[in-house]
Structures are given as structure tokens and as C-alpha cells.
Amino acid sequence: MKSRTRNLLKKYWPHVLAVVGICLLAVTIWIVTLDRQIRQQFEGRRWTLPAKVYAQPLELYTGQALSIDELQQALERLGYLRSAQVSRTGNFQRRPNRIDLVSRPFRFADENREQQTLSISFADNHIEKMWDSSAREVPVFRLDPLLIGSIYPTQGEDRIIVSQQETPALLPAALKVVEDRRFDTHIGVDPIGILRAIWVDLRSGSFDQGASTLTQQLVRSYFLNNRQTLSRKLTEAVMAILLEVHFEKKDLMNAYINEINLGQEGGRAIQGFGLASQFYFGKPLAELQLHEIALLVTEVRSPTYYNPRKQPERALARRNLILDLLAEFKIVTAKDAEVAKAKPLGLVNATAAHSTYYPAFLDFVRRTLRRDYQESDLTEAGLVVFSTLDPLVQARAESALVSELDRLDKNSKRKDVELEGAVVVTAPTNGEVLAIVGGRNVSYSGFNRALDARRSIGSLAKPVVYLTALETGRYNAASIINDAPVTLKLATGKDWTPQNYDKKVNGPVPLVRALAQSLNLATVNLSQDVGLEKISTNFLELGLAEKPQAVPAMALGAVTVPPLEVAQVYNSIANGGFRTPLRAVRAVLDSQGKTLKAFPLEVTQVAEPTAVYQLQRMMVEVMRRGTGVSARTQLGDLVVAGKSGTSSDYRDSWFAGFSGNHSIVVWLGYDDNQPTRFSGSSGALPIWTKIMAGINTTSWDQPLPEGIHEAQIEFANGLAVNDSCSRESMTVAVPDDAEIPWRDGCKAAESTLGGRAAQWLHGMIGR
């Protein structure tokens, strides 16, 4: 028997050896493969320092129109904590007509500012005075800006990376106590824990008993796979051991803190404690208190099961359990734990947290930066990007678009598909983009309509036609044009017969009325006289990326561009005929704080300022007696200028216009370009108005340029009148040499005295 076995062994020995060898080789290859995979993952993340993107800081200054409540809201948005006295960074105290605060240290592009104690007094909803801790007056002060996201290579922009220095020491300690008490000593897996888990698993016949170390959890998170098969667990364990072989504990802990999932909002995963801190508490991780850290540690186990917004009792119970554990393990004192346990969850409300994620705006930032930087610079070099986003304006733009689209959808005949929309808000004088909304799902980083939806602009083209007419010097606001039927021969040989919106014909009308009522026939006749080529050139000068085709229908908006380009054109008009390139980024700094690139203000005069002034005045009349009149009830005394736009068959509904310091473009329509039921006035205007009414803006208010004077005419016919002969008079701005025919019966009362006095005055001041 024995010899037979020996013979068999002898006979098959090489085979056995070969099999064992192959197995060993396979295992080695497997381990080497795993090793390469896990190291790539880890190093990829570890050395990745994504560009941090900041919103524009709130500038405080003496005399500023800002109420004490508005400042308090701004501070709360930044996560400043209201307290009984100001002693800590990021705290503020409200007193009667005064706020004291301790600002956070912050490195601006042009100044590395230490934390500072600042007192701000208010009078009549203005900042009266500001002073520092040694009672020195501070005329102007910047608050630290809101961090709005990071540019991350693969996962989208939804992560805020924190360094070890930015992590409160309590967090790793708490994580160890709650999740992995042997973290400091184990080799990536915890054999004692595993044996216990296997025992439990075998008895229950399933593999769901968790005994994962932090390292294993990290590995699992890297590969986004929660299938708990035995082979999966084995792979995970081997990878965890490999990670421990290559890297230090502190790096693994830091990676864990930046990696782990702590929540979900729609399609957006809240990864890492840095983002979770903003998401749940609206402030940086470094400023979290004990009870807040305990809640974040609660979410590690299951962000869904312990969702503090949906399951507050459950989350609170586990949070307090964790606080007990921390006391038990002497991480905190029992007294501190008791105090923390008595505190509420302290969550920032979901909409405020939600509003810190602006994918459409970040998309624009990213495209701007891609012109100068490699993708790897943006995601690895630790750049700091100062953007122009105004969080308050962005929030108003988002809520106005979403709520109005919801309302309009109820009146829509299509039930299969939702209306879509886009908003761009800019600051006319410097071209800074304050807000971008790319669609009604504002936190979804998909199709960015503000930048990419090329749509027909309809009557938004008219101001460019009228500006070109004014620039010729042959026309003014009171000039008469004929709103009469017109048929034009197109290049294709076909006839083109445009019609007015209401299919009516109005005959001779002044320019100001033709624009206010958006008369198509008058505009086509005007554009034929002014010259299509000139108008097309003006479109390009004012800011379109390409010169539109100089075809007759161009005057009525046969120009297909995305809302952002419309915003550029209207920004130039709002800025008095000076084009300044729209920009979303002010400066880019390297990780050491050195300015790598600044995007300085550039202006180019592209239109005659006096002509633009006259146009602006005509666009004010659009809001007062034309297609924008319905905005008045909401805007009250605020003076704004604007223009509606509706493309053929109501496929696009636009409204664009400006106040003293904001220019807003709103588009809405269907993605499949099917007709909506809305004109510019009934669809986009209510959204536009809601944004304008909801932001802190000022009236349109330009001083009358030299060479231009005001004249009274009748809106209907453009004839000069005065108060004593007409009850229908309106004021227009016209060049000093303009001759406006008088209405019958008015000439007698004509103030030739005034005309002469004006000439005399001109002589006086040397013109």
C-alpha cells in the first residue's frame, strides 16, 4: 500500500509541483495586480490637490447700503456662529445697530489677512462706521469668501479636500473609537474582528457582518462596490494589507477623511468630511464643535439610515451613543459629552446647503481655466481660484427659475416633457458673471443651457437694430418710421413677408414706440434703411462670437446663440457701449499663494456712448409702457431697462435687461425646440422680474450726456408737445440738434425761450 502511494507520488510529483507552482504564480500575479490597482488609486487621490474655487467676497465699506439683518444673513451663510461674546474665529455678536465679529484668516490674491476683530455700526440700513479692536477706523473690509467647490478629475466638483492641518484632532480620534479601535496597530485587516465576523456569518449563513477596518472601508470606497461576496471581501482585505505596506497611518486616515460617503442629495454624493461639514452645517470642518463632529461620525455607518434631515431621532440617538463612547474612551470629558448631548443636531437648512453647489457656474469656470491650464494642473496642483460668483444672486436666480417654471408648466399643454430654462446675471461695468443657471435641475451638472443651448433670440435683436440706427445720426427716439407691410426678396428667391405679433399695422410711429411695443414691420423697414451689414457688424462688436448672417430676418432675431452670448451683448449695452469680456474668474493662485494668472478688467468702446444712452432710455420705456410693463407691480420704483424676445411659434421665450448694476438674461423653452405657449413677456419676464426684485440692486441712473437733451413727445405719434397742450406726453432723450415737429396747437406754447436759453448756456460753458 505504502509503496503504491509512494509510486503514485513519484509518478505525479512533477504534476503536483506544477499545480502548486501555477497556483503560487497565479496568487502572486493576482497580488501584484491588486497592488498596482490600489496604489494607483491611492496615489491618484493622495497627490491630487484639486483647485479650490471661491465665490466673490462680500465687501463691507462705510456708507454701504447694507442692513444689519443682511449682514447677519451673509455671516450665517459663511457659517459664522452667533454667540454671546466674540472670542473665537468665525464668531459674531449682534448688538443693537452693531455687529462685532472675528474674521477668519484668509489668503486673498492681493493680501494675506490674519484673523481680525471688527465692529460694524449701522444707521438707516447703511454701514455707518467700522473699526478694529484698537478702535482704528476701517473704511473697507472684505469678508472671507464662500468656498463653492473644487475641480476634481473624475467625480465631478462635489468634494472639498481637507488637509491634516484643517482636520480637528477630535475627528480621527472619534473615528478610531467608533469604527476601528485597533487602527493604529493592525496591518490593514483586524484578524480578531474577522474571526468574529466569520463566526457570525457562518451561523447566520450570510455575509453581512461588518468588521471592516478603516483601511478596508477606504478600499471599498475607492472601488465603489458594496457587494459583500466572500471573494470581494478577500480582495478588499488583501488590498488593505497592501495599502498598509506602502503608506503611513496618518496618510491613510487623511485619505479616509476625504473619501468616505456621508450623504446623498439627488444625484450628488456627499464625499468626505470637508464637503459634509458644508453640507450639514454650512461651515468649514475646522470650526465644527464636538456634537457636530459626532453627527458626521454617525453618518459613516449609513448616511441613508441615519440621514439627519429625514431621520432626526435616529441620527440623534446614535450621535449621543457616540458621544458616550467618546467619553468612555476618554477622548472627551464626561462633562463635555453631556453638554454636547444636550445640543440639537444644529443642521443648516437644506436649501442653504444646497446653494453651495453650482455646477453650471463651475462649468464656466472650468472652461475658462482650460484655456490656460492642463486638466492635471486644475486637479492636482492645488490651485486657488477666485471666481466672480455672487452666492446671493445665484440663489435668487435658481429659485426664481425653478419656481416660475413649475408654475408655467401647469399652464403648458405638454405633459410629457418639462419646460427648461437658463439664466445669466452679470455686472455691467466689469463684466463679472455673478450667476449662471444651466437648467431647472440646478444641482445637476449636465447639459448647460446657459452656455450651450443655441437658440433663436427673437426680438432681443431689436435694440441692436435701433442702436445702429441712432448711431447713424439720422434717427432719434422721436424719429418716425413706418410700421407698414413689407415684402422682401430673399437670396433664396423666395418672398419674405413678416408680420407684427398681433398681426396689426400701426402706420407712422416714433422709434421709441416701435421698440417699446416690439413692432416687427417698423423694425424691418428701419433695418433696411440702416443697412443689414452695419447691424450685423454691431452684433459682433457688442459681443457675439461670430458675425450673424446679414439677412433681413436678422433684424427680427434670426440669430441663434446661447444665453451667455446674449448676456455679453446686453452687458455692453448696459455698460454704455463699452464691451468688457464676461469673466467668471478674477485670479488663479498657486498652492503657495502666488498669483499665477489674473483676469484683469478690459474695456473697449464699441458704440457711441450718446447713442447708447438714447437706446437705454428707450429700453426704460419698454418697461414703462411696452412689453415689459407687467414687471412694474413687483419692481415698484426701481428703474430698469429691458427687452422681450419671442421666436417664431413661441419656441423661445426671452427677456434681457438691466438695472443700475445688474444685467440679467433669461431664456426658456423646450430642449426639443417645440413651441411653448409663452411669449417673452409671459414666460421669461416673470422670472427676470423675480430675480431683479430679489437681489440688492440699484435703479438704472445715468447722467444725461453732453450733447443730449430731454424733449417731450407723444408716445403714439412722436410729435413734440408740452405739458400745457398734451396729457399724453412722455420724455425722450434726443441729440441737441434734433428737430422734432410740433403737434398742431402746441407750437404756440413752444418755449423758444428755453431753446434760446439752452444755446446761450452752451455758449457760457464754452461749447
Binding site: 453732453e706 418755449s751 448756456l761
Partner: protein, 188 residues
């Protein structure tokens, strides 16, 4: 500024202005659609922080029988607010240290606070001159000019900057013209 020969002019200007009842015409804001009262006696205060000065006090207040057309812009004298002055000073220091990028950033802060103040646009234009960016210097000066309605002194400074930028680009005849505009404004 040779004020003496202009005494007659100034006095008659004062009379005229007082005749207008409203010695400075406020920046345009549309009248209500309802026909406004024939004449207003209120002097509308300018929006802070631009300060508006009335060069001469009305001597006699005579109500005009016929409203005069508003043919001239208000006479103004632009100044900086406490906040923007602080920032302009800071930018000047940065400019002296040849730190143009930071100086520009500081002036942009000031412009965000007072976007319509021509003095700030002039500062920005001077900075661009220092950087030999003559085209932008001219643009900034033109922007200042467009915002400086009624302020002859600021307009003169703007024309001078435009002239300097032309001169730097060897556009001498344009430069001469611009200097001429500047001088005619200062001579008033």
C-alpha cells in the same frame, strides 16, 4: 483757471441757474406716466457716494414762467468716498512698487464699490499707462469721459490721458487734438 475774466459769465450763469429753480439737474429718472407737475423746486440729492457740488448759490429765486428744457447735464465735481480713497491709496503704493497685478486688483475692488466714479476709471487708465498698455489706457479714459458728464476738470484729465496714450503710440495729430480738448475744458 483764470476766474476773474469769467466773473461776468459766472454771475450770469448763476442767474440762469437760479432761474431754472433747480440749479442742478439730477441724473435722469423717468417721470411717472401721469404728466408731472410743470416745475419742481426740489434739488435732488445725488446718490451717495458721488458728491455733487453747486458751483454757485442761487442769488435770487425766480420761478420761471415756462419750464426750460433740460438741455445741460448737472455740474458735478466727482470725489472719492472714504472706502475708495483707502483703496486708491493702497493701489498707488502697489503701483510704486511696480506691483501692477495687485494694483489692478485693488482698483477693481474700488470700482466694484463705485462703478460710475470717473476718477477710478482714470486711476485704472493711469495704471495701464504705467504698464505700457496704451490701448487700454485710452479705453479707460474714454470710460471715465463717458461717466464724467458735467465735471469739466475730470473730463480734462480724461482727455489728457487719451492724449498721452496717443502720444505714446506715436499718433501725434490725434494726441494734439486730444490735448486741445483738454485745454479748452481747463480754460473754462
Amino acid at each position: 483757471m483764470n476766474a476773474c475774466p469769467n466773473f461776468y459769465r459766472v454771475t450770469s450763469l448763476a442767474l440762469l441757474l437760479s432761474l431754472c429753480a433747480c440749479s442742478s439737474i439730477p441724473p435722469y429718472s423717468p417721470a411717472p406716466i401721469v404728466t408731472p407737475p410743470a416745475h419742481s423746486t426740489a434739488v435732488v440729492e445725488p446718490a451717495a457716494p458721488v458728491t455733487e457740488t453747486h458751483p454757485v448759490e442761487p442769488v435770487v429765486a425766480v420761478e420761471p414762467s415756462v419750464p426750460l428744457p433740460t438741455t445741460t447735464p448737472a455740474t458735478r465735481n466727482y470725489t472719492l468716498s472714504a472706502a475708495t480713497r483707502t483703496l486708491v491709496n493702497q493701489a498707488t503704493t502697489q503701483r510704486k512698487n511696480l506691483d501692477f497685478v495687485q494694483a489692478a486688483a485693488t482698483l477693481e475692488r474700488a470700482l466694484r464699490i463705485e462703478p460710475k466714479n470717473p476718477l477710478l476709471w482714470l486711476e485704472y487708465g493711469e495704471l495701464r499707462m504705467d504698464e505700457n498698455n496704451f490701448a487700454q489706457a485710452e479705453s479707460m479714459a474714454r470710460k471715465a469721459l463717458a461717466s464724467a458728464s458735467g465735471d469739466a476738470r475730470t473730463q480734462a484729465s480724461a482727455w489728457r490721458l487719451i492724449a498721452d496714450s496717443y502720444k505714446a503710440r506715436n499718433q501725434n495729430s490725434e494726441a494734439q487734438q486730444a490735448y486741445g480738448r483738454a485745454n479748452s475744458l481747463t480754460d473754462r
